[in-house]
């Protein structure tokens, strides 16, 4: 029998509690003893967090009840991200969590679209996306399990209050044996023989020993950087935004099941609709706008009354050179930072936690596990990085930031992808990492990179038959969407009506 590994998580934000929930929910206490240390509650921003559909797998794997989770985190549904003014002023596209059309005779739908565009029968790509049509109409429903139905061609994510999500997971993990300590780490002892972390000293004087330390302390990397010096690789030259102002507003009528990202002169503004309020923020580059102007810009752009003063956050795009270093894993901001333009922050935490479970160590702390873990995490970071840079690079705006990002030299891997797409709509597929071809298609075409050619196999099919098929598809999408529930009503019913019915039936059961 293996003796249980002692895992110490430092930091009680979203990352810390995602790790704690997964480790207590999926690993038995006979294999892992999990302890989390967090210092006294820091004032939370409460602006809301946007996620990717993968988060549902995470919650499902832990057996979390969706309605309960949504109610407790003030969550709404999310079908994609609406990009306004990206590429050039006046653009408006949605990057959906779903397909554009379906392959015809084994040929990807986008080639037929390109062909029809060349023939001058041009309709916007988005009329072939069910998820986009639903989002534009502020409607939502759960995907159908019938694979042949147009209603099965999307997935969904959530917007939620990240601090409430952390609290929700805290309760979950504590119910499953998480030991939690309020306290500040004031000292770290390293093992002289290998430089691994031996123990932490808390302000209370307590010494906390562990086999594996998970650093969720944020940017500073209390353990992984300040103690172990794992190293930092800056990507600021490609992603120059380094600050944000965030501010919550009252909930407005605009309850679109989408995150919104509006491109501004020195960055972009986010909008995340939650049940109880809306999260807003301006991500900007301090090299191109001063703080006051940025704050003013944000406050002038709000569509409802602000509920607080704007709060500033500072950051730098990049990643830790080793996410798992010695016996310490950096998670969340301690492992790297990519701006929330494509809602990847929580995904990166989730994939790191999933990889940790796949590569679960024993007390002997086999360094080969770290090697594989880091290979997988590096792929994730690099793929997301290229996708984010694309948003900045493919633009025709004339402000200084946008001129800079248009003219900067981008990673070869991205130049290659753009050239492949522009020439003939080719989109690379990879075994690991985000994003899938539909995502690339949405952003590339949304920012005016249109394929010049298309797969010649598309010429095998009769043009009028193809156009009839395309028209039928967009008509079917429109008809189905008009019957979907409104997003706001569905959230209310799903979170509250269903729950009250459940409570009622329990009460009835008790009285019978």
């Amino acid at each position: 029998m293996i003796s249980p590994i002692k895992i110490v998580i430092v930091g009680g934000g979203t990352s810390g509690y995602m790790a704690a929930a997964a480790l207590t929910g999926l690993v038995s206490p006979s294999l892992a003893q999990v302890r989390l240390i967090e210092s006294a509650e820091i004032g939370t921003v409460g602006v809301g967090e946007a996620t990717l559909p993968h988060i549902k797998e995470f919650n499902d794997s832990l057996g979390i009840d969706e309605a309960d989770f949504m109610r407790k985190t003030q969550a709404s549904f999310k079908l994609g991200i609406e990009f306004r003014d990206w590429g050039k002023l006046g653009n408006n596209y949605i990057h959906p969590f779903g397909d554009f059309g379906q392959p015809i005779a084994g040929v990807e739908f986008r080639h037929f679209w390109t062909k029809s565009k060349r023939l001058g029968i041009s309709r916007p790509l988005e009329v072939y996306s069910y998820a986009i049509a639903a989002a534009r109409n502020m409607r939502f429903d759960f995907p159908s399990e019938d694979r042949d139905s147009i209603k099965s061609t999307f997935s969904y994510a959530y917007h939620f209050d990240a601090s409430l999500y952390a609290a929700f997971l805290r309760e979950f993990a504590q119910d499953r044996g998480l030991s939690r300590t309020e306290g500040k780490v004031i000292g770290v002892a390293l093992k002289p023989e290998n430089g691994h972390i031996a123990s932490l000293t808390l302000q209370s004087g307590e010494i906390v020993q562990g086999d594996l330390f998970i650093d969720c302390s944020g940017f500073r990397g209390l353990l992984i950087e300040e103690q172990l010096h794992a190293g930092w690789e800056s990507w600021a030259h490609w992603l120059p935004c380094d600050r944000a102002y965030a501010v919550p507003t009252e909930r407005s009528d605009d309850f679109m099941p989408c995150t919104r990202s509006s491109s501004l002169e020195a960055g972009w503004q986010w909008r995340v609709p939650l049940q109880h309020r809306t999260g807003n923020g301006y991500v900007y580059s301090s090299g191109f706008i001063n703080d006051q102007a940025a704050s003013d810009r944000l406050m002038g752009n709000l569509d409802a009354t602000a509920m607080a003063e704007p709060r500033q956050v500072r950051f730098q795009a990049g990643r830790r050179k080793h996410s798992w270093f010695k016996n310490c894993i950096g998670l969340g901001l301690a492992s790297g930072f990519l701006e929330p333009l494509e809602s990847t922050s929580i995904y990166l935490v989730q994939i790191a936690v999933a990889n940790l479970i796949q590569l679960f160590p024993t007390r002997s702390m086999d360094s080969r596990l770290a090697k594989e873990f880091n290979r997988l995490i590096d792929v994730e970071y690099e793929r997301i990085r290229d996708f984010l840079i694309l948003h900045y690079h493919a633009n025709q705006r004339d402000e200084a930031l946008w001129e800079y990002t248009r003219n900067m030299s981008v990673p070869d891997s991205l130049t290659y992808k753009i050239d492949q797409f522009r020439h003939r709509g080719q989109i690379l597929r990879h075994k690991d990492g985000l994003f899938n071809p539909a995502s690339w298609l949405a952003v590339l075409t949304g920012q005016d990179i249109i394929p010049q050619g298309y797969d010649r196999l598309a010429d095998n099919l009769d043009e009028s038959a193809i156009h009839a098929k395309m028209d039928e598809l967009s008509a079917r999408i429109a008809a189905n969407v008009s019957e979907m529930p409104r997003h706001d009503e569905l959230v209310r019913d799903y979170c509250f009506l269903a729950a009250s019915r459940k409570a009622e039936s329990i009460m009835l059961g008790a009285t019978q």
Partner: protein, 502 residues
């Protein structure tokens, strides 16, 4: 509209590479008016040559509209559920690499981890005993995978095909589809000096064939890509000791084994591929250790078969051209990558090349973008295939045999090195883009060659001991029941795929 640049493809070459290409291009682009002209060079096939294939060929054949049973009849074909590897260690038993998966995963725990734990606590049942394919092969049975077997574990099958009639049948199909053909004893490329591209080919009868895109299917000579376009070879000899190959044949085996055999010998590897009406033998060896005559004797002794007097010897130079597509020349088959015979990759490499050529068929006059992407993808495909082959040589335990000692001590390429390192740690199997062989094939090879993981996933400990053994018993019982109900390979062929099978 931009004019479609490629209106005519000229395929120069011979045998499977040539005729599979003609079929694939006509099937894909014939309807849009692509013309395909074949300049056929004299075949290099001997009457006894066998194409051993990998499972994905079945789907490729059906994409080409080729009927499986018809092909099996024409080419005296046999089915293959996998490969038996013998003698790669002096003491270890033969092991079976099945074309399929092993056992059933439980929750998030891969089957290999469950098996390792049971193995550590003394269970003696081999990993391969949890494979349908291996169990069926050992009893001479054959089956077409169905929903029920797939629910338990993925199963697949491949073929052994007599090369000459298979090619003949591909040729007649291509001609029916509209390919035109001219035969020539040799070819000479005429280059456009300005573009460096090939403008036309001179044929032995003095005539000329021009085209937009040229396919080099000339085999290892690589007359157009290597010759006219001057693309060099990246040799793989450092990992592959065999530089010569003998093919021969013997009478058919009865009952007919539904698998092929690979046997490690002192100076190379012997491959035995059963067909309905004969048995194909291929012996790849190191010519510094044996002459052709000696090699033939070695093959006869090791196979214990009476070899017919039809043996042919040839050189073998594993490696790939640094790019598979240069200018307006795309190499398909051995002109692009030349594999050691182990794992039977020849037709598979052709098939992969064609799938990607079709997917990246030039859309207009500037095909540079397609060329870059094709070369990137094919280099990756070829190297992952090569890595799997190297695993057999790298992991051998024939200590004291110079040929095998050299293979074992040679450092592997980085992707394979990482796989071996991770497998040793805990049977982890990192997978990359463009892999042909799935996780279970790699596990099968590594375990079969005697590589032992130092540990298993600690999360397996969450499963109580008293659940593990009954779980394995149920799996073994299920496989046994299923295999018992399967028909024999002979009976299956007789029923479906034989003209006069006796």
């Amino acid at each position: 509209m931009t004019p479609q640049f490629v209106n005519k493809v000229v395929i120069a070459g011979r045998d499977a590479a040539c005729w599979l290409t003609a079929n694939a291009l006509l099937q894909a682009f014939g309807p849009t008016g692509l013309a395909v002209e074949v300049v056929e060079l004299p075949s290099r096939l001997s009457p006894h040559d066998v194409y051993a294939t990998l499972p994905a060929l079945e789907a490729f054949h059906s994409m080409l509209g080729l009927n499986e049973y018809e092909i099996m009849k024409t080419a005296s074909g046999a089915y293959s559920l996998g490969q038996s590897f013998a003698n790669f260690s002096p003491s270890g038993p033969a092991f079976f690499h099945p074309y399929g998966a092993h056992g059933k995963a439980l929750d998030r725990l891969p089957f290999i981890q469950l098996w390792l734990r049971a193995h550590h606590s003394g269970m003696k049942v081999d990993f391969e005993d949890f494979s349908f394919n291996a169990a069926a092969a050992k009893l001479g049975r054959f089956f077409i995978p169905n929903d029920q077997t797939d629910m338990f574990a993925r199963s697949d099958y491949a073929y052994h095909l007599k090369a000459a009639p298979y090619v003949q049948s591909l040729k007649s199909t291509a001609l029916r589809r509209g390919a035109s053909v001219r035969t020539s004893r040799h070819i000479e490329a005429i280059r456009n000096d300005q573009t460096g591209e090939i403008a036309a080919l001179n044929l032995s009868d003095g005539s000329q064939v021009s085209g937009d895109l040229f396919i080099d299917a000339t085999g290892p000579d690589s007359l157009l890509l290597g010759g006219a376009q001057n693309v060099g070879v990246e040799s793989w000899r450092t990992w592959f000791g065999c530089n010569r190959i003998i093919t021969a044949s013997a009478a058919a085996l009865r009952p007919l084994p539904p698998y092929s055999q690979v046997r490690a010998l002192k100076s190379g590897c012997l491959h035995i591929a059963p067909l309905q009406d004969m048995t194909g033998l291929t012996f790849a060896f190191d010519s510094t250790l044996a002459s052709d005559d000696e090699a033939l004797n070695i093959a006869a002794m090791a196979s214990q078969l009476r070899l017919r007097a039809d043996a042919v010897a040839d050189t073998l130079e594993p490696g790939r051209r640094s790019v598979a597509w240069a200018g307006n020349v795309v190499a398909i088959g051995e002109s692009a990558a030349n594999f050691d015979p182990i794992d039977s990759l020849g037709l598979h490499a052709i098939h992969q090349s064609l799938v990607h050529l079709i997917g990246l068929f030039p859309v207009n006059g500037s095909e540079g973008t397609e060329r870059d992407e094709y070369n990137r993808i094919m280099a990756s495909h070829f190297e992952r295939l090569r890595d799997f082959q190297i695993s057999h040589f790298k992991l051998n335990q024939k200590v004291g045999d110079a040929f095998w000692d050299a293979a074992r001590t040679e450092p592997p390429p980085s992707h394979l090195a990482h796989k071996i390192e991770m497998f040793k740690a805990r049977a982890l199997m990192p997978m990359y883009d463009d892999e042909t062989f799935e996780i279970d094939s790699w596990l099968s090879s590594f375990l079969g060659h005697g590589l032992t993981p130092e540990a298993y996933d600690p999360l397996v400990e969450m499963l109580p001991d008293d659940q593990l053994i009954p779980l394995f018993q149920r799996m073994l019982g299920y496989i046994k029941d299923q295999v018992q109900d399967m028909t024999s390979h002979d009976a299956y062929l007789e029923l479906h795929a034989s003209k006069n099978y006796a």
